[in-house]
């Protein structure tokens, strides 16, 4: 087993356990590479990658771009706000125009769920989903699991609670798939209004009491409240949200064990997590960012190796 079972990374639900294992093992090697004095390898010299961001992003876009450059790929950046999409061009036309410039791989973030799957059926290029609406964000889930594996030795058997706005979160869905595939137990915790109906059909525990959830888990993944995706009010006030679902030092110290704190970013300090927790030694938030580059290098490398000359 040294090859991915897929030609695109559209979501965790299309991967199997061996794929995740292979991605992690490859990321181990790239993590060593990015800690060298010279952090670049020439593997992808003849590969061109287009980063198509139809939605805002800071960390994911930078992380992908850095991963691509560390692998020596040629990189095209595109963001919809400065493009002809505004003039009414369709997604397929936009992408086909870019592909006619001989692009081998597309990294795409799009507000519509399923945009990556749609694209993979209509264009000849390897597609990596960098987030499609509230659907999936596979590389984030991979780097989250990879960070848990690094911190706790293994993902299997661990208890992970995802706290916050589950309803609007693609990170939550991809994380649930990835963690369950590797044998972890998953719980979601948040205000009832921000928990999707039928979330328990995914086989996750549901909890609305944060203290109970934190006492149960080994790892807490704190999500941001995605105000930009909310068309109605889901809770009375930010202050009330913080009181019930925000993690602070006092709460962590009162638990019966030391748990690991994660956050996919961007953090709203003082809302879902206080600064002293975000910057504490229990937090692996910055490790997640570093691992993100290694994971994305691994995914790009493994997918590129399936593009035949």
């Amino acid at each position: 087993m040294s090859e991915l079972s897929v030609n695109h990374l559209l979501g965790i639900k299309y991967l199997n356990k061996q794929d995740i294992q292979l991605i992690f093992e490859t990321a181990d090697h790239f993590k060593e590479v990015i800690n060298r004095p010279i952090k670049k390898v020439p593997s992808l010299r003849d590969i061109t990658i287009a980063n198509l961001f139809f939605e805002n992003s800071t960390r994911t876009k930078l992380s992908f771009e850095l991963a691509e450059k560390r692998l020596s790929a040629d990189v095209l950046n595109f963001s919809s706000s400065q493009s002809s999409v505004k003039k009414g061009e369709t997604l397929i036309d936009t992408v086909n125009n870019i592909l006619s410039m001989k692009v081998d791989m597309v990294v795409m973030r799009h507000p519509n769920p399923g945009a990556g799957v749609f694209l993979s059926k209509h264009v000849k290029a390897s597609i990596i989903n960098a987030g499609d609406g509230a659907h999936e964000h596979p590389t984030q889930a991979l780097l989250d699991s990879y960070s848990i594996r690094e911190k706790l030795g293994d993902v299997a058997g661990k208890k992970v609670v995802i706290v916050g706005d589950i309803l609007h979160s693609r990170v939550a869905l991809s994380n649930i798939f990835a963690l369950q595939l590797q044998g972890a137990q998953v719980m979601v915790c948040g205000p009832k209004t921000l928990l999707p109906k039928f979330i328990d059909s995914l086989g996750v525990k549901v909890e609305t009491d944060l203290r109970k959830a934190l006492n149960w888990c080994d790892v807490a993944n704190m999500l941001r409240v995605q105000n930009e995706r909310m068309d109605i009010s889901y809770f009375p006030s930010t202050r009330e949200y913080t009181q019930q679902f925000g993690v602070n030092k006092e709460l962590l110290d009162s638990l019966n064990k030391e748990i690991t704190i994660m956050h996919p970013g961007p953090i709203n300090r003082g809302v879902e997590i206080t600064s002293d927790v975000a910057d504490s030694k229990q937090s692996i938030i910055l490790d997640q960012v570093q691992n993100g580059v290694a994971i994305r290098m691994a995914v790009i490398y493994l997918l590129a190796s399936k593009i035949k000359q």
Binding site: T26, H29, E32, V33, R36, V41, Y301, A304, S305
Partner: protein, 179 residues
């Protein structure tokens, strides 16, 4: 598939000691020298040479690293199988050091070409030498030759040289295998 013994355990042992002595002759106390075993199979030879230098010739301060060249190879996406990486362990800089690459078999020279590029990630060495146990003559694709060679053999293209190590393959030996 037939196979022929090229070197038995005793011969391998004599050659390893000779190679160790040749290294001492050139590098004295190894104060500015680093040994780099090339993954995957060169690291066994490198580990063994380092052990002989330390234990039999009492050389202190041997710096030994393992270098994986997978991401620097020139055949990415050209073969049937994807290239699988191995671990790189180099916990020192090679800036201004005398580097000795160690590999079990020198064949086309392409691995060494990749290693020459890969090592640059760890600094600019003063010089780079190459030590191989087996040198397959007349099969080079690149102008690369070893500085220290165990045995030179003539091998035709449908034959393969397999080096075995006691630690991993239960015996020290070199076989010529006809595919």
């Amino acid at each position: 598939m037939s196979q022929k013994v090229l070197l038995n355990e005793k011969e391998v042992n004599i050659i390893l000691h000779r190679l160790a002595c040749q290294l001492i002759e050139k590098h004295n106390d190894f104060s500015n020298t680093v040994l780099i075993g090339l993954q995957p199979r060169g690291v066994f030879l490198a580990d063994r040479i380092a052990k002989i230098l330390r234990e039999d010739y009492k050389v202190k301060n041997i710096q030994l690293g393992h270098l994986d060249i997978t991401f620097f190879r020139d055949d990415f996406r050209r073969g049937e199988k994807p290239l699988e990486a191995n671990a790189t362990q180099i916990n020192f800089l090679v800036e201004d050091k005398n580097v000795v690459f160690i590999d079990d078999v020198l064949y086309t020279g392409r691995s060494i070409r990749a290693a020459l590029t890969a090592i640059q990630s760890f600094g600019r060495p003063n010089e780079i030498e190459l030590l191989t146990l087996i040198d397959r003559r007349f099969s080079r694709h690149l102008p690369i030759q070893p500085n220290y060679r165990g045995r030179q053999v003539d091998v035709i293209n449908n034959e393969k040289v397999k080096v075995n190590w006691k630690e991993y393959d239960n015996e020290d030996s070199v076989y010529l295998i006809e595919k």
